[in-house]
Each structure stands twice: as C-alpha cells, then as structure tokens.
Symmetry: C2
Subunit: 435 residues, 2 copies
Amino acid sequence: MYKKSRNKINIGLIGLGTIGSGVAKFLMARRGLLLKRTGIDFNLSLVCDKDLSLKRDVFLPKGMLTKDTDKVINDPDIHIIVELIGGIHPAKEIVIEALSKGKHVVTANKLLLASEGEEIFQKAKISNREVYFEASVAGGIPIIKAIREGMVSNRFSSVFGILNGTSNYILSSMSSECSSFKTALKEAQSKGYAEKDPSLDIKGMDSSHKLAILSLLAFGKRVDLDDIYVEGIEDISNLDIQYAKEFGYGIKLLAIAKCHGNELEARVHPTLLPLEHLLSSVSGAYNAIFIEADLVGKQLFYGQGAGKLPTTSAVISDIVDAGHKIICGKNSVKQIIPKDSEIKKLRKMDEVVTRYYAHFSAIDKPGVLANIANLLGRHNISIASVVQKERREAHIVPIVMLTHEAKELDMQAALSRINKLPAIKKKSIVIRLEK
Amino acid sequence: MYKKSRNKINIGLIGLGTIGSGVAKFLMARRGLLLKRTGIDFNLSLVCDKDLSLKRDVFLPKGMLTKDTDKVINDPDIHIIVELIGGIHPAKEIVIEALSKGKHVVTANKLLLASEGEEIFQKAKISNREVYFEASVAGGIPIIKAIREGMVSNRFSSVFGILNGTSNYILSSMSSECSSFKTALKEAQSKGYAEKDPSLDIKGMDSSHKLAILSLLAFGKRVDLDDIYVEGIEDISNLDIQYAKEFGYGIKLLAIAKCHGNELEARVHPTLLPLEHLLSSVSGAYNAIFIEADLVGKQLFYGQGAGKLPTTSAVISDIVDAGHKIICGKNSVKQIIPKDSEIKKLRKMDEVVTRYYAHFSAIDKPGVLANIANLLGRHNISIASVVQKERREAHIVPIVMLTHEAKELDMQAALSRINKLPAIKKKSIVIRLEK
C-alpha cells in the first residue's frame, strides 16, 4: 500500500483510552496524508493497554495489541514511545525506561511533567533523546511549539490564560444564564464538560499543573506544584459575576505567570478581567493563552484545550517532530529548560501586588462603610470605586468595591480585621483583578 | 567570548532596512541566549545593503557590511541567506541563486512568495534546501509553523482573518471614534500605522498576498493573485459601521479561504462579523487568524502582524529552524506544498454563497421598499431583517438590510437592477457577512 521507504518510523503506543484510541485511529487513517506532507512513513506498530477486553472506537489489526508494556519499550524496531496512560506511576517509569532504551517519547501527561519534569528532561538529555509534550497544555493549541520555537529569541514577561475548559464552561454559563455554581456544574457534567468528580478542574489544580509546565518553558524556572497559589471557582457566586459586570469586568479562572526582575509570580485563581480584554470573550469549554514578550509584544492563542480530537492533533504533531529528528540521524536535542533563566526565586503570594474586587456583607447602619474604608486605608489599600447596593437580605447590604494595587499581605491583614467587625455578617469575598 | 562550537552557523543577511537592522541587532544581542536555548551558535557573518551610507539602528563590526550581494551568496562559509529586501526583483534571483549554492533561505517577502512561490519552492526541493517564511504572514504570530507543524495531521476547512494591521487600525478608529475614513487614514498615517501611499494596505492587496501563502499551506492550492477577489476599505463609511453595529455586527477587512469539497474560495473584502465573534474584538493595528480544521476544531492566533520587533522575532525563529536542520546534516526537507490536496479549482466569485448587508439610498415615497424587495426576491435573495431609517438628507431615506445566504452572481444582478430604479439616488452599498 505504501512505497517501501527508508523513512519509516515505528511507533509504540501505551494507553488506549480516549486520547490513545484517537491517536491510534488517526495515525492509521492519516498515514498516507502524513507521508505526503512529511515524507515520513509513520507506522503504528504496537499498542499496549492493561485491559484488552474493552470495546474501543478503533479497529487494530491482529497482533498489534498487547498487555505487556515491556514488550513495547524493549522492541528494538520501535523509534517513538507515546505515553498516554496518565498519572505519575507507572507513567514515569515507562518514560524513563523508554529514554534509556534510546526511544524518543511523546506524552500528554501534564501531572507527570509538572511534578517530575526536571528529572525526566534530565534523563532525556543524558540519553540524547527528546520528550515531546504539546498535548499536555491546552490540547490542540500549539502553544508549546509557539513558545519554544516560534518565539525562541524572545524574553517573556508574562504568560497567563484560561487553561481549564471545565471551569471556563461553568463560569461562562453562570454569566450568560445567571445560574448558580451548582446548577452550572450539573449542566457541565450532564454535557460531558465536567467529570463526575470535578475537583481537579474546579479547584484549579489542573490549571496549576499546566502553569508549572508553561513557567518552565517561558521562564526556565521549575516551580514546585506546592508553591503555586491555587484558588478554585467553587466560591464564585452569580451575584459577584453580576456586580463585576456592572464595573465592566468578567470573571475567569486564570493561571498567571509573571516575571519581575529575578522573581517569578505563579498563581491560579478566579480573576476579574475587563470585558473588552480578549480573554473575556473566551466562552464555553475553550482555552486561551495570553503572552507578553519583548519582541513579539502581545499574543493570544485560542482553541479547544481538551477533547479527543484536538489532543490527538497535538500528539501526532509531536510524533511528526520526533520523526523528523530521527530521520535526521544526528541528535541536536533542543533545550527544554532554557539555560538562560535570570529567575532566581518564586515570589511568595504575600508579596504579590494586584488590584482587588471586594464584596462585604454588612448590617445596614451608619458608619459601616467608613469602618471598612478606614481599615483598608490603614493597610495601604486605596479604594478605586465603590457601590453600596440596595438591601438584599434583611438588614444586610452588599458593599462592593474595586481597589487600586495593593500587596496581598496587606489585603489579607485588612480582610481579617474587617471580617471581625461586628457589622460584617458574612465572610467577605475578595477576587483579584488583572487589566 | 563564545565557546568554540562545532554547532556554529554562519548567516548572510541581505537588506538592511527596518526589519533587516532589527534582525542584525538581535542576532548579535541574543547570540548568547540563542546558544543557551538551542545549543547552536548563530553567527551573523555578512550583511549586504545597496546603500552603506544610511544611518542605522545597529552597530555592525568593521568588514561585516558589503554592497555586493554576490559576495554574500558565494561565501562558502555561509549556511543561511536571509533575504529582506522585499519586492520581486532582484529578491527572486537572490533566493534562487542562494538555493543553487546550497544555502537555506529565510525570507519575509510575501509578494515574492505569493507570486513566485511555486517556482521557488520547486527550486528548494531540487536543491534539497528549505525556504522559511514565517515573517511573510502576520509578523510575529507563528502561524506558518502552527499550520505546517502544529496541525500537520489536520484537514483544514477554513482559514480567515485580519491580515492587515493598517486597515484594521483605520476601521477600529472609525468605529470607536465615529470618524470618517479620511480622518482615520490621516490619523493612522500620522501615527506611523499607514504609509504615505497606503494603497497596498487599504485596497486589500497586502491581505491577498498573505492569503495566497496561507491557501498554499493549508489547502495545497496555488492561487494566482489575479484570481483572488479583492475589495478594499475605501468605500466603508462611518454610517455603515453604525448601521452594522445596530444589527449586532462589526466591520473588518477579512481575507477568507474556505474549502468546499474540491473547490477553494479565496477572497478579501470588508466583512460584517457578529460583535461576539473573537475577530470582532481585534482592534487597532493587530492581526488575527481564525482556523477551522477537522481535528483541532476552531483556533485563533492573535498578535502584531507587522513592525520591526515582531517581524524580527519571526525571522530569527526561522533562522533557528534552519540551524537545527543544518546541524542535523541529513536533509529531510519538509513538504511546503502539501501533496495531498483535493482542491481542484478555485471557485469563481460569482459562485460564492454568502450573506449580505445592503444599504440603499432611496427617495422617500410609497412602494420603494416593495420594489427593492421584489427585485431581490426575483433573484432568489431573501431578506433576513430590514430597517428603514429616518430621512438623513432631503427626501432620501436609507434602507438597510441583512439578507439570508445568496449567490454573488444573483446579488450583483439584483443590485444592477436596483441601482437603475428611478427612486434610487446613490450607488447601493453591499458588504458581505460572515458568522
């Protein structure tokens, strides 16, 4: 069917779940297309999964499927191992072993790279092989390639964006349909945009894994997952979405990495963004990454950040890059961690300076606003605008404000004192703001 | 200063204008950074310009500058020729000669590739060398890389976007400041966003050059520049921008390539876009490209489409890619024109089916609207919504409407008959619409 070609690359695929079966299906279905476009014949030779009895969306020729990971890794004819089982173990052992055996590795495993990336990239370097991971961040959006290759001569100042489609879907429908968090979550679950246990997504952890990978790439700084400040969207109420809108802002779950001299800020939390900001127009289960760098200026990349087909596209793009590398013969392995980093340390959350939206629930009596303003002032926080709303519940009025830039430590100190005021009847809500 | 490295790549730069001096400056200033990031030592060895007396933004060491193109092309130590003189001649001869001499070529020359691309890519293939051209479309946005590499396994259905920053700047300020085309153009000129002779930009030709390159990449179809329907923004009035806004649309100069089975549509014209479309949020001198492909779904790439630094970033990214290829030794040259194209022909503009915005200027008397609607109906054009405005000039009322999908041929036929109605007092304005 295909001309015999010296440019034949054999691929071993480990993990035949949703993404795995997409990759298997399209590697076979587009083998001819890829040959025409790249001059390389990509041959899926072995596929491994622990459960061979499951029904899948892809037909594999007899003999291609195995339960034995070692059979794939040790096959001397296989050039590329595609790891799609997810999780840290045994994915890490598989990747390390594959590199030892001289294979290039393609993976979509964000958790693995966010937590064990340094060791894996080190192993790749020693083995003179590459690890490709386009699919680990923002699915089909070629953001890893854009940062590593497209902007190779740039110094980055900030990388931030919507990295979790589930949370964005929920916040979008809360905003457009005035629904509560619970209702929006249920809807997302029924439509398949949220898992039965949505914690990883809505609590911001998924975003933080991706942020760790982007920080490593753009700033050359390994960030411990534990050191990233993470706040989820569970406490966002429809009321705050409406108030924010009145101020001209939308609320998005942002993953933010910013460089200040030799310090890096890395945080994930719900964020007010001006409605005219491009990221505010990103609705539904989409992802978008906003980048500022010294030569290119501002750039935005938008697309589907998850899902079978977009992720398949990213994995196959990596396989093709690995194929070109293998055909080359000589290994001029690209640096995964830029060696030029001037970033010395991660800025502590306490030291972060940002603007805030604050929503206080106070008893409707004279002097309350003055008390709050006073406490903010004493902690160096100045108010940019304030709206005292009509009473919503008996005797309780919402006081909503935007502050100018303030230090997180000061804000937290002020908050803790404000929350103790006798007139404050509910825990105050504070959401950070980006412009 | 730099460790002696076998991975040293020598670069010859031809054309030291705005972009050329940016590339020269940052190749030198970031030599260490690039070495750290890529493992390759990129050495700018010769720079050629026809006028050595001009003052430039970059200091070149003695002996690096020459007026002799041949000296650069024939230098056996030079691996990569960067062509930044623009125009077709002598750029074409330089590129062809450089390929003959075994050099890889990096160029930002959109006109050259749009008109002579096929011959140049053919020459590159025979010479077993590559031509890189990231900077030719959308400046700093790595869109060429995204299409060729990031989405290598995708079949594309449409590629469209804002490819000309000047026109977008003018339309944006007409919209936000209610200014006339003339005023907005003058402002763009005074701010340096438009050239003294802005024809190439505002008449849509610049966009059509870029569209030809994108069509070749995404659809494998060479499109003659003469075959691309091109309409500029000179006839867009502030009035139409305001009317469009009332219908919920903005007006953008779009370059559109769409595939319908084995036919390709390629056209450039002002276009109504729903205000909630991401491209509608692209204001000022920015570019953005919207892509639909079968695996990744919808993607958008946004950034500065021109300017010294963004373009420099794209050129250096290409130089680095060429460097990796050279270090590799073996040449697995990537296919520039996908060999898989199913596109057999370009769809004629007459056959294009689209929705329309139409603005008729009619005498305010009974039966006029009926006459217009009648003529549209006879040409199979059905009206989606219509607004008859209050009289603006003596006895003349604007009748503004959106149609459902119709064939261009039908629309033109109807228009020509409507324009002949005695009640019609000005040439009717028709703007196409995308959703």
